[in-house]
């Protein structure tokens, strides 16, 4: 602790549980962490959990004790293996063992040895049904051999295939062979009609296209993503506008879209034109984004300036609560400004909007100041990261004044926010105080 003093570090800037438990029992009574340290308790948000996560009473119990378990070293066979390998392993005595031989059956992991049944065609069948100009017989045989070995894992097969063929080509060959064989061998077409490959044959071009599209989506830059999102948002808004105006007026609605010209600039997919430009305030969904409000205004063929201002005000109010909005309006009144401008020209509306935003900023600052003040009066150590060291020349009220006057709180006694000289100053007044009392 003395080392910390010398360094000028605040004594409690890294709260250690030892120190805190000793020095603040009165504070702890507020918090009630039973059995866990204060910091761990703070991790939960400082509040007791609503329900115990573990039944604490169960933790103290001892597990049920059985009699001793004996183990035996026994041989076993694995039906998954083709050779006749005999291995040994430990078997616990819980399982009933008679004569050292397990009666329970196969090796428990043998059931996981699954494999795919790959079709096997004869040479005759090949000549009759399976010849293909793109594939030699050797290649096809090789393919099927690999399929068997690697359980139809085409990525691996493609890697191992001697000549370079794409995954799609290999799949195509395999599935068409399979299909041809099934069709050839089937007694009647009805028998195999339910087989998946008969119902939906493998479509190479579709697959290639699909994979290409996927990779395109994956490799989209963030900018493209953002643009696509914007387009979707605009489309949604247009759909909403359309729904809303359908409710108010039942006339023809036409949606015009011009992809080419507009892709070059902003990605606006289309416009909704309705005979009645409804100016009811509840019609349009107020958007939280100023830019999107502007965009949606631009999409209207005609609108009133006051309507535009209303929308922009709503957008900027979207993040504020009802009380804040009331305060903004009260402030406007106090400043002698009309809540709705009397002469709503473009310039006036712009100024009005800016004024509203500035008032919001001002109110936010007021809140922050109040909050800081509230924190300051019930301040606890460690909440603020103290910058250690260099005694800067801030507006530093000498400690003697502080201590001579009112007691500012326990924290001041412990605070060592500055370098060595002020520390000395700290010490002296404290000693004085003790002696004074």
């Amino acid at each position: 602790m003395d080392a910390k003093d010398i360094l000028g570090l605040h004594k409690n800037s890294f709260p250690s549980s030892l120190d805190n438990k000793k020095s603040r029992p009165p504070k702890e009574s507020q918090r009630k962490p039973d059995g866990i340290s204060r910091e761990v308790y703070a991790l939960t948000g400082g509040m007791p959990p609503l329900m115990p996560s573990i039944d604490a009473s169960q933790l103290k119990k001892k597990p049920p004790t059985h009699e001793k378990v004996t183990w035996q070293w026994l041989p076993f066979t694995n039906s998954a293996r083709k050779d006749d390998l005999h291995l040994y392993h430990w078997v616990s005595h819980n399982v009933r063992v008679v004569n050292g031989v397990l009666p329970t059956g196969d090796y428990s992991f043998a059931k996981y040895n699954k494999s795919v049944d790959i079709i096997k065609y004869t040479d005759e069948e090949y000549e009759k049904y399976l010849t293909d100009p793109m594939w030699t017989k050797e290649e096809t045989n090789e393919l099927f051999d690999l399929c068997e070995r690697f359980d139809l894992r085409f990525v691996v097969i493609a890697d191992r295939f001697p000549s370079s063929r794409t995954v799609e080509e290999l799949k195509d060959r395999y599935y068409s062979v399979l299909r041809a064989i099934l069709l050839a061998r089937a007694a009647s077409s009805g028998d195999i009609a339910t087989h998946p490959i008969i119902k939906e044959p493998y479509n190479v071009s579709q697959e290639m296209e699909r994979k290409r599209a996927l990779s395109m989506v994956l490799s989209q830059t963030r900018q493209q993503e953002k643009r696509d999102e914007e387009v979707l948002i605009e489309a949604k808004r247009i759909a909403e506008l359309r729904m809303a105006s359908k409710v108010t007026e039942q006339s023809q609605l036409a949606v015009a879209s011009n992809a080419d010209a507009e892709l070059t600039e902003r990605a606006v997919p289309g416009e909704t034109v309705s005979p009645s430009n409804v100016q009811l305030p509840q019609m349009v969904v107020p958007s939280a984004d100023n830019a999107s409000t502007l965009a949606s205004l631009r999409m209207l063929r005609v609108y009133l300036r006051t309507y535009a201002l209303e929308q922009m005000v709503q957008a900027s109010n979207a993040t504020a609560g009802v009380r804040t909005i009331k305060r903004v309006e009260q402030t406007l009144q106090d400043l002698g400004v009309n809540l709705k401008p009397r002469v709503p020209t473009k310039a006036v509306c712009a100024e009005h909007l800016e004024l509203r935003r500035e008032i919001l900023t001002w109110l936010n600052l007021q809140k922050q100041v109040q909050y800081k003040e509230a924190e300051g009066s019930s301040f606890r150590d460690g909440s603020y990261g103290e910058t250690p060291g260099t005694p800067k020349d801030r507006t530093f009220i000498p400690d003697s004044l502080n201590f001579g006057g009112e007691r500012v709180g326990k924290k001041d006694q412990k605070r060592k926010g500055h370098g060595a000289p002020p520390t000395a100053a700290h010490k002296r007044p404290r000693k004085q105080k003790a002696s004074d009392l």
Binding site: L300, R301, R342, V343, V369, F379, Y384
Partner: protein, 275 residues
């Protein structure tokens, strides 16, 4: 809708064919869009982006107490109107105005096809009047709705009403066309009723085509309107001044609080006595 489906049956005044990569018309400024309503004739309208034009209007009512001539059912004579904010002729933009009066009036739907766009009536009650503006087809196919509450009785109810002093309630507003068509812009770019921003260089507008001419009345402005000395003055200068002053005040507060905050962050141990 893909462009291949739309066929240009009618072309507006423009020489250049509709071309995706048109050379002399900068594609960034122009946008081609399809109008609504009549899906049979698919007309392509070239619009000018980033040149929003607006038409400042004033609408409202002037109501005179009839005094000795007043009866139970007709105590006031009033006029509801829409005029250009500086009394300019609106008929270049507005094709017709429809005033929807209280259903107790005969033919409550009054249509005015030419300026001055107003209706005069006698009555006793106050009610909301719906004013609908219809624009020329090259300006906008959509209509615009305004609402105005007819006021007959003055605020201060001291004594009997003066037949000479009417109750005047006017509202200022601006009709904004964010992306006017080339034809419309060409037609009104120099019209006194329309506020047009500075046009970008290189913008080729077609030669203007006049719309249906006004019937009989030669002038549609309200500069010599019989009631025009009651018209209110709407100057944005006053409001701008007040707003600027208010903003200054608020900005000063923000600066002060900002300083206070940084001070408070710098000295967590010293309690600010004044807060």
């Amino acid at each position: 809708m893909s462009q291949s489906q739309t066929l240009p049956l009618k072309r507006h005044q423009d020489e250049n064919p509709r071309d995706d990569d048109s050379s002399d018309i900068k594609p960034s400024r122009l946008k081609i869009s399809l109008p609504s309503e009549d899906s049979d004739k698919k007309i392509l309208i070239k619009r000018v982006k980033d040149v929003g034009i607006c038409v400042p209007i004033v609408y409202g009512t002037i109501a005179f107490f009839l005094g000795r001539k007043a009866s139970e059912s007709q105590s006031h004579k009033w006029t509801v109107y829409v005029r250009g904010a500086s009394n300019e002729d609106l008929s270049a933009v507005v094709k017709r105005v429809v005033f929807q009066l209280h259903p107790s009036f005969n033919n409550p739907t009054r249509v005015v096809e030419s300026p001055p766009f107003e209706i005069s009536e006698c009555g006793w009650g106050e009610f909301e009047i719906a004013i609908t503006l219809f624009f020329h087809s090259d300006a906008c196919e959509k209509q615009l709705d305004l609402y105005h509450h007819l006021k007959l009785y003055p605020e201060d109810e001291s004594g009997p009403q003066n037949t000479k002093r009417p109750v005047v309630i006017e509202s200022y507003n601006e009709v904004v066309f964010p992306e006017p068509s080339e034809a419309f812009l060409a037609r009104v770019q120099n019209h006194p009723a329309v506020v047009v921003p500075r046009l970008p260089d290189g913008l080729n507008l077609p030669s203007p085509v006049p719309v249906e001419p006004m019937n009989d009345k030669e002038r549609g402005d309200t500069k010599d309107h019989p009631l025009n000395h009651w018209f209110l003055n709407f100057s944005e200068a006053d409001e701008l001044l007040k707003l600027a002053a208010a903003r200054q005040q608020v900005q000063a507060h923000i600066v002060k609080l900002g300083r206070q905050l940084t001070l408070m962050e710098g000295l967590p141990q010293s309690k600010q006595p004044s807060g």
